[in-house]
């Protein structure tokens, strides 16, 4: 299989003979086009009297030759080709519709930085607008004016309540255990292992319980919010809601955010308790502290302030998780990967915001002396 051709400045004759099936000889193709570019003959004649079988691999060569000829206004004569091949090639030129919108190419470096900065600006505006909407929705919900299906709220409640109990218990129990272990190593050197109980009690109630609940709920509940709402976006269901005049924030975000805000304090209390039990297990079984003594020290270490600070953190985390999950769900793209991307973003950003806000809250509490 080869493509024979003679060429000078005036005239190029390309002769096809034999079969061209899976014709993929790079060399011949490249040489043909190199010569075509060099010579740029005024007329090109295609000769296919002896052409046998062919497939698209031949057609594509001719397609490129014709395109070249058209671009440089060379005369091309296809009458020597078999009827069906000519027809096939005509087809490729028949409806040569150019896309209405041309795609963006890669931006130069500086422009890319600029556009990224603008992106951040726009998305932070979008984000704060979303949070404002959510707050309005919550107020509307409190005054009973929001359109929300009760069943959605129950489902969200179910998901954020008893279905999360097992994992929250297990993880906080283990965290209490680990805290106690790590604390014991140091405290033992002073013979003060009894203070393991206070350490665990303070750490769990003030921050660790809430953080563990936050991380677990970001992973299971926040992710599922983003995935559910995201696939609704893909299915154009959110557009349907909007055209019915129903606010997506009321209808989709409100039941989720309220249920998470309602359940998260209880989950935090559960986590606190399980952490203390985990610490107790280490204290009693490893450090040989009597259960009664452990409990007394724990009780003395517990303070309402720390407990309330923990619950407050829980509320903040619940809000962050629900907002991130719903936000990335609603602003999900329309591709197949969009939902996956939305879920990832929801979890990652929820955890990042949780940590950032914890830093800020801790600082502020320090200032007011709590």
């Amino acid at each position: 299989m080869t493509i024979a051709y003679k060429a000078d400045r005036q005239h190029m004759e390309i002769t096809l003979s034999g079969d061209y099936l899976s014709f993929s000889d790079e060399e011949i193709r490249q040489k043909l086009f190199a010569d075509l570019k060099n010579k740029r003959p005024a007329t090109i004649v295609l000769n296919g009297q002896e052409l046998g079988q062919w497939d698209s691999t031949l057609a594509v060569v001719l397609f490129e030759v014709i395109k070249f000829a058209q671009k440089h206004s060379l005369h091309i004569d296809l009458s020597g080709l078999p009827e069906n091949l000519r027809h096939f090639l005509d087809l490729a030129f028949a409806v040569d519709r150019k896309p209405e919108a041309t795609k963006l190419s890669r931006l130069p470096f500086l422009e890319a930085i600029g556009s990224k900065t603008l992106d951040i600006y726009h998305s932070s505006r979008k984000g704060s607008a979303f949070i404002k909407q959510v707050l309005i929705s919550i107020l509307k919900g409190l005054s009973g004016k929001a359109v929300m299906r009760r069943i959605d709220f129950y489902f969200a409640m179910e998901d954020a309540s008893y279905k999360a109990i097992a994992i929250v218990s297990l993880v906080s129990f283990m965290v209490g255990l680990i805290l106690a272990f790590v604390g014991a190593i140091q405290l033992k050197t002073f013979g003060a292992q009894i203070y393991v109980s206070s350490l665990v009690a303070i750490a769990m109630t003030r921050i660790m319980g809430a953080i563990m609940v936050g991380i677990i709920m970001a992973g299971r509940t926040g992710a599922s919010y983003a995935a559910t709402i995201g696939s609704m976006q893909v299915n154009e269901e959110i557009d349907a809601l909007k055209t019915m005049g129903i606010s997506a924030t009321d209808f989709l975000v409100l039941p989720r955010i309220t249920s998470l805000l309602l359940t998260i304090p209880f989950l935090t209390i559960l986590a606190d308790a399980m952490g203390i039990i985990g610490g107790g297990a280490v204290g009693v079984f490893m450090l040989g502290i009597s259960p009664h003594e452990y409990w007394t020290y724990t009780w003395n270490a517990l303070s309402l302030d720390n407990f309330l600070v923990g619950i407050f953190h829980g509320f903040v985390y619940g809000f962050v998780i629900a907002v991130c999950g719903c936000y990335y769900g609603i602003y999900c793209g329309r591709n197949a990967d969009s939902v996956g991307l939305a879920t990832t973003k929801a979890v990652v950003s929820a955890i990042v915001w949780m940590i950032v806000l914890t830093g800020i809250i801790t600082f502020l509490l320090e200032v007011v002396g709590l």
Partner: protein, 253 residues
């Protein structure tokens, strides 16, 4: 391998399709000739799509066999089956483009999978196939960025990537405006004429049936069998029974 005396691209031999106890179609015998534009018609739910799934090897019939180019496709081994499937292009109802890939990547996929063509040849072939279906210049678009009719044409470009001998269409005009639908019909005829591709179309769009069909079968849900066959225009002139006549005349009394 068993070869029938005269090898037609597709031959159905006593095909029965059933879902559990529910028999959908029973003992279908028919033959698609080379270069046919073969129409499978019949009312909704009579099993056209199921038959297409059987013909394309996506589903096994409950009884009977399909011969593709004389080879027993139904009983073939995995590798032989794949070789046959490679020679068949399918345009699914919705286009079935992979939404996370650009049109170019969609069409390049079978080429990368089954040929050892160089990347530059593949990209030229991709552009050529897109041009064939009137989508030149849309290489870098994602399926979500083009219209329904364009998706179907892009799906066709992908179905044509490997120069198939047989192309199947499941309701090509469903969900298309008359102009897009006509465009697709014209494409089907052009492919059939220029490449000699054998074409099987499931449709109940009358204008398509008469414009493109050279041969057909008419499936009937009640008798679970083929109640008519042949050139659709002939069928319209001499309908063999009342069901076919009413179908082809849009229910005229």
């Amino acid at each position: 391998m068993i070869k029938t005396a005269e090898t037609s691209p597709i031959q159905a031999d006593k095909i029965t399709i059933a879902y559990g106890d529910f028999v959908l179609l029973k003992d279908l015998d028919f033959k698609v000739n080379k270069h046919d534009v073969f129409i499978i018609m019949g009312g909704s739910g009579c099993g056209k799509s199921s038959l297409l799934r059987v013909l394309t090897g996506l589903q096994n019939p409950s009884g009977g066999e399909v011969f593709i180019n004389g080879t027993n496709f139904t009983k073939a081994e995995e590798t032989a089956k794949n070789d046959i499937m490679k020679k068949c292009g399918i345009l699914y109802q919705s286009g079935a483009l992979f939404s996370s890939m650009t049109l170019a990547e969609n069409i390049a996929l079978p080429l990368q999978q089954y040929t050892d063509y160089s990347p530059s040849l593949i990209s030229e072939l991709v552009s050529f196939k897109l041009a064939l279906v009137g989508l030149a210049g849309f290489e870098e678009f994602y399926p979500s960025e083009i219209s329904g009719g364009m998706k179907k044409r892009a799906g066709l470009a992908r179905a044509l990537a490997l120069d198939p001998e047989i192309v199947y269409f499941d309701e090509p005009s469903a969900g298309l405006d008359p102009i897009s639908s006509k465009l697709l019909d014209d494409l089907i005829i052009d492919l059939n004429r220029s490449l000699g591709t054998t074409i099987v179309v499931v449709t109940h769009e009358l204008s398509s049936i008469f414009a493109i069909g050279t041969n057909s079968i008419f499936l009937d849900g009640e008798t679970k069998s083929i109640i008519a066959g042949g050139n659709p225009n002939d069928l319209l002139r001499n309908p063999p029974n009342e069901t076919v006549r009413r179908f082809l005349t849009r229910g005229e009394k």
